[in-house]
Amino acid sequence: MDFSDSSEIAEFRSGLRTWLVDHTITPEAEESEAMFLKRWHQVLFRGGWVGLSWPTEYGGKGLSNAYDVVLNEEIGASGAPDAPRIGYMGRAFLQWGTEEQRERFLPGLLSGDDYWCQGFSEPNAGSDLANLSTRAVKDGDRYRITGQKVWTSYAEYADYCILLARTGEPGGRHKGVSAFVVPMKSAGIDVRPIVAATGESEFCEMFFEDVEVAEENRIGAEGDGWAIAMMTVAYERGAADVGYLSKFGAALGELRTLVSSDGHVPPLARQRLGELEVRFRVLTEHVRRRLTEREQNDSLPGPEMSVDKILMTDVDQTLHRAALELLGPSVLTTGPGSRWLEKYIYSRAASIYGGSEQVQLNIIAQRLLGMPR
């Protein structure tokens, strides 16, 4: 069993640490959070820090996924903006995509030049994703797509969407679902941002009216959509795959600094911060174990990632709830732009998106523990 920071990793770590000190960025006036993170992604990419565990042919670095954890740890410790959330988007291409699709789409995804969104959920297909009804009808060498998506994060900025649509019979549940790459500038797509409870616009409604998509934009065969979606969400449940370790590390560091700024930490705060530190470190260690297993077994993520999602959500929600208490009522009495309150509200979404907490617990009980249905 081995979690080692080999000498190569140690060298990588110290190189990255130095680089982060020299490459801080701050949001420009009027720059949205999404665009700021896109700019940061590009800066990181030019520094050579993105796509570490992705194949070199497509702009990655071909390293073991232990490097993704190091990236997360170091970004978190430095307090820089989050690591890019690309770890889960686009993995489908490695497994199901054609060579042509990989060459066409992956370099832009990794470099941050192209922004991607994920069009899975619909008004009547939330937890019950298999109830999705957006249709893709074959028409010669193309498909015509009609339907409605909702909660699509960052769709208003996106260049491409990974879209799930039904190519088989209506009501066919998991069967007859296919996955497509849809260029967001295609005719017939109407994107309407939804203002989130944080006050930011994070997600959108998307309306598709007879949108033409070339056959070569289908990922995998017709009917592979469900398996592609399940693999994508499995990656989305890993704290290193979505860059969340870095986010929590930075938040915890900032909170520690804020609470101890006058040099005196009340005993209760000391214990609370210590407990958060324990939780955060257990998550990090768990992620390292998971990625080591993935590497040792040469396996793709599966239902075990629901364990990771629960752990990740617990850290997210415990941390941000504790922050409100530790920072006191000033977080609530300030006007618009109370960042810690926004972060707290967003943490409440963590047990909803990417498969709700209850859905994860169903998966663990039935698929990992084999409990009867």
């Binding site: 069993m1 214990q271 390292r288 629960i310 990992l368 409990m371």
Partner: protein
Amino acid sequence: MTATLHESEEDVALRRTVADIAERCRSTRAAEVDDHTSCWGALVRSGLTELRGADDDGAPLATVGQVVIVVEEMARAVCGAPLVGTLLATELQRLADVDHVVPDEALTVLLDQELRGLAADDALAWDAGVPVTHAVGLDGENLVVRALEGATGSQDLSRPVAVPAGDAELVGGTLDADARTAFEAFAHVVLAADLLGASGAVLESAIEYAGQRVQFGQPIGTFQAVQHLCARAHVQVEAQRSAVLFAAWSLDSGQGDVVPAIVAKAYGASAAVEVVEKAVQVFGGVAITWEFPAHRHLRRVLLDAEVLGNGSALSGHLFDVVEGRSDGLQ
């Protein structure tokens, strides 16, 4: 289904050997008697009580990773053979550069009455089941040994405590601050493995039970409330396992980072108790009977959680370490 980190062939064999001993403990134990002398004999014959003895160069005979395997498997049966106390006493002697301070006797450790740390006076010997006769403790930097009176009871039914009888005798070994930190780190990981084994095993049997026990015409395991209880507990067991594996690896890799050991014990202290409580809930009324083993697991994890600092104390300590306000010493 769950992929796990590869264990070497040697480790797999080790786990099997210990699991056999634990299984015999489980299947032969009567509800009324806690006699673990045959378990102890089997552990001794397999050399498992000496895992942290010193080789010719003073290095331990086995890795922390191997110790963790042995401790976890025995804890699954809540076995009362004084394995953990012996391992800690042996580690303490090795770190203090002394060896078998009381030849041919089994030793455990002396803790203060609050169980927070090693002690010499006003101390009690923890994990002092048969055949333990002496315990090693610490007086300042000096290692001491004391003979014990017979074991008195403990709420951890299979793991009695004992009161020292004789005076504390110096044995020539000393423990400087670094060695003491190293001892505590080792002890935290061992306790975390004990918590993992005792909580993981009872959860597994609760899940099995939920598949068989029928109410309302169906196995209770089909009820989502029961499934979610088990799933939550499973997450806590997996997280404990990750923390224990990582901490063991950290100590074995010789980088001297004791933080993962503190994390493993601090997390395990609260998580293991919650896991066993959830298992008790799944069993229903039968878990509240003396005969049923669930309460033995509960008692074991409750006491383990307190040894060398409970979750709250260690969390505060961890904050100090991270903030650089302390050098890792308790």
